[in-house]
């Protein structure tokens, strides 16, 4: 188990470098002078020159990358053109909000998705099963930004149960979490169902029955534990995709997270912040994938106990 962990961690390192390289390089693919882009359209000639020297923008590309990485590891991502504060501070201020939103959606996805999937599989062919799967298909198809607006329309504008935008209380979290979690919940429900259906047919479930175990134990312990294996991977991957979807949901609900910041910054041409946001989101995604791999190894002993 230990070496599985270590192996995976080592594999992350080149990916980390590749991601930072891409984010570093994107500036050069854009039209215009990188120094100008980083300084802002209102910057004076001296400011632009200062940045050019600071980041070594007249030096060869590889040197620039090293300077960039050196700064990065120190936590320096440049200054926000709009506010003048360090880009990292802007992002760090908002990161917890995005995490909170992601956590809320994760809860929705896991609780509703798993339960629906298990019930549908156990009662295969019943009206519950058919209805759930049709609803799940809608859930997979619905655009989350539209769903957010509709939920807002119904619950905030007309029924007044939840606040429309902003953050602060638990009530503020509900609509955004539901919105962000819907796609993933539907995917998890469908996958759990098909995974359970396949597992229930397996020989070892028949053995468990022959041992005289209760049906509940067979379904929730013997079957589910095995059905969980592909589901766990997907849950983690969807958690990562949700980071992307958070961009849309945060914008709809004016939720002060990294996603909304990213979009705002693009509109304002605040490129240091844009770069920083993309980097943070990508790194978070990579870490989530790593966790997914590790969980997978934990859950399936065939992987780690070679």
């Amino acid at each position: 188990m230990q070496d599985y962990l270590v192996r995976r961690l080592l594999e992350i390192i080149p990916v980390f470098f590749a991601v930072t390289a891409i984010v570093f390089f994107m500036l050069y693919l854009m039209p215009g002078d990188p120094a100008q882009l980083l300084a802002g359209s209102d910057a004076s000639i001296e400011d632009i020159q200062a940045i050019r020297e600071e980041l070594g923008l007249d030096k060869p590309l590889v040197t620039q990358y090293f300077i960039y990485m050196k700064n990065l590891l120190r936590g320096d991502m440049g200054k926000s053109i709009r506010t003048g504060r360090p880009a990292l501070r802007e992002i760090a201020d908002r990161y917890p909000n995005t995490l909170l939103l992601a956590a809320g959606s994760l809860v929705v996805m896991i609780v509703i998705g798993l339960i629906t999937g298990i019930l549908s599989a156990v009662k295969q062919g019943s009206w519950l099963d058919n209805a759930s799967m049709v609803v799940a298909l809608f859930g997979v198809s619905v655009p989350n930004f539209w769903l957010g607006l509709m939920l807002m329309l119904l619950f905030s504008v007309h029924l007044g149960i939840f606040p429309t935008t902003g953050t602060g209380t638990f009530k503020h979290l509900i609509l955004p979490s539901l919105t962000l979690g819907t796609n993933a919940t539907a995917v998890v429900a469908r996958l759990t169902r098909s995974s359970m259906l396949e597992v229930i047919r397996q020989d070892y479930v028949r053995t468990a029955r022959a041992k005289g175990l209760s049906e509940v134990k067979i379904i929730l312990l013997h079957a589910f534990r095995n059905a969980l294996i592909p589901v766990v991977t997907i849950v983690c991957l969807r958690a990562g995709v949700m980071l992307g979807g958070a961009v849309l949901v945060e914008t709809v609900f004016a939720w002060p997270g990294v996603g909304w910041l990213m979009i705002d910054a693009i509109g304002a041409r605040d490129y240091p912040v844009v770069r920083g946001c993309i980097l943070i989101v990508a790194i978070s995604f990579v870490i989530i994938n790593l966790i997914a791999d590790l969980l997978y190894g934990l859950i399936d002993p065939r992987i780690s106990y070679k």
């Binding site: 397996q202 020989d203 070892y204 028949r206 053995t207 468990a208 029955r209 022959a210 041992k211 005289g212 175990l213 209760s214 049906e215 013997h222 534990r225 095995n226 294996i229 859950i299 399936d300 002993p301 065939r302 106990y305």
Partner: protein, 339 residues
């Protein structure tokens, strides 16, 4: 209340288990009657699809309710009475406890995500009120009994870390851990290497003597039957066609199907050096959805005559044999009804 005959552990009377499918009704078990004595090994032999597994699953009441159904018959087990009349909840107290079952595929019959010690202890703790520690100790004992070395270490292993033969031993340990009165073994060695087969069969015999369990051994392999069984039932297309003790079966087989099976075994001393062709039974097994009228073997039998195609013969003692325990389902051995 119906009671079994003296010394009989399990008696099946006129069991019919059908499967209702889109293509029709499959008569998987179509009037099977047999008896297992306490402590004996009953062999059930027949080709694939003849209903032997379904018979065992019917005893355990593990037939999936749609599409299957025990349509008729009684399965009398000791003091528990007719198993077909028990609820699933009552059956759960018997499964793994008084009657247990092992299956053909040891590679896939154990749950891959739980350690084998846990899987054995689980059986014990389900049926007996013992502490966790006691269950673990008993599991180690069972592993020792089935011949797995270093059992204290092995209980922490996962199934994929064991070979096929070892896994089957674990299955046997799991099946015997609560001292059942009857163990159903459905093709337990078919999926194993020949050398391992012999080991497992030996083990089963040894344990049988030690624990006193009766065994219902299902197989298509006559050699295994010869080694292990005391009594044999030959099944074909959902019915038993011949029942006899093992010596009688091999020496004085009477039903044409049984004779066909026995003669189709290639024999080194007979065919070697000669140009003799292998004997086969002509024709193929009928589909369970579409069985012939009358005797089910009639379309392949070399001795078929008129009554065979109209009435199904009863499974009854052969008129000309003194051994009343030797039963056959064939009009050669009984008087068909008059027209």
């Amino acid at each position: 209340m119906k009671s079994p005959s003296r010394g009989t552990l399990l008696e099946i009377r006129n069991l019919k288990t059908y499967f209702y499918t889109e293509q029709g009704i499959a008569h998987a078990v179509d009037n099977v009657s047999l008896k297992i004595q306490e402590g004996e090994t009953l062999g059930i032999v027949g080709e694939s699809g003849c209903g032997k597994s379904v018979t065992a699953l019917s005893i355990m009441r593990l037939i999936a309710e749609p599409p299957g159904k025990i349509v008729e018959g009684e399965i009398i087990f000791g003091e528990r009475g007719d198993l077909t009349k028990l609820t699933q909840s009552e059956m759960r107290k018997i499964r793994g406890n008084k009657i247990s079952m092992i299956f053909q595929e040891p590679m896939t019959s154990l749950n891959p995500v739980f350690r084998i010690g846990f899987q054995i202890s689980e059986s014990i703790r389900t049926h007996q009120q013992v502490s966790k520690k006691e269950a673990v100790n008993r599991s180690i004992e069972m592993l020792k009994m089935v011949g797995i070395p270093s059992p204290e270490k092995r209980i922490k292993d996962y199934p994929h870390q064991l070979s096929g033969g070892m896994r089957q031993r674990v299955m046997i340990a799991m099946a015997l851990c609560c001292n059942p009165k009857l163990m159903l073994a459905d093709e337990p060695t078919t999926a194993l290497d020949v050398t391992i087969q012999a080991q497992i069969l030996n083990l089963m015999n040894k344990l049988k003597e030690r624990v006193g369990t009766a065994i219902m051994l299902i197989t298509h392999n006559l050699g295994v039957i010869a080694e292990m069984a005391q009594t044999v039932c030959v099944m074909y297309a959902g019915v038993i066609v011949e029942t006899a003790d093992v010596q009688t079966l091999f020496k004085k087989a009477s039903h044409p199907y049984t004779i066909g099976l026995l003669t189709s075994i290639p024999r080194v001393d007979r065919t070697a050096g000669t140009k003799e062709r292998l004997n086969t039974i002509k024709g193929i097994v009928p589909s369970l959805l579409n069985l012939p009228v009358g005797c089910k073997f009639s379309n392949r039998c070399p001795h078929v005559h008129e009554p065979c195609k109209i009435w199904e013969p009863p499974l009854a003692p052969i008129a000309t044999h003194s051994d009343r325990a030797h039963l056959s389902r064939c009009w050669l051995h009984h008087q068909p009804p008059k027209q």
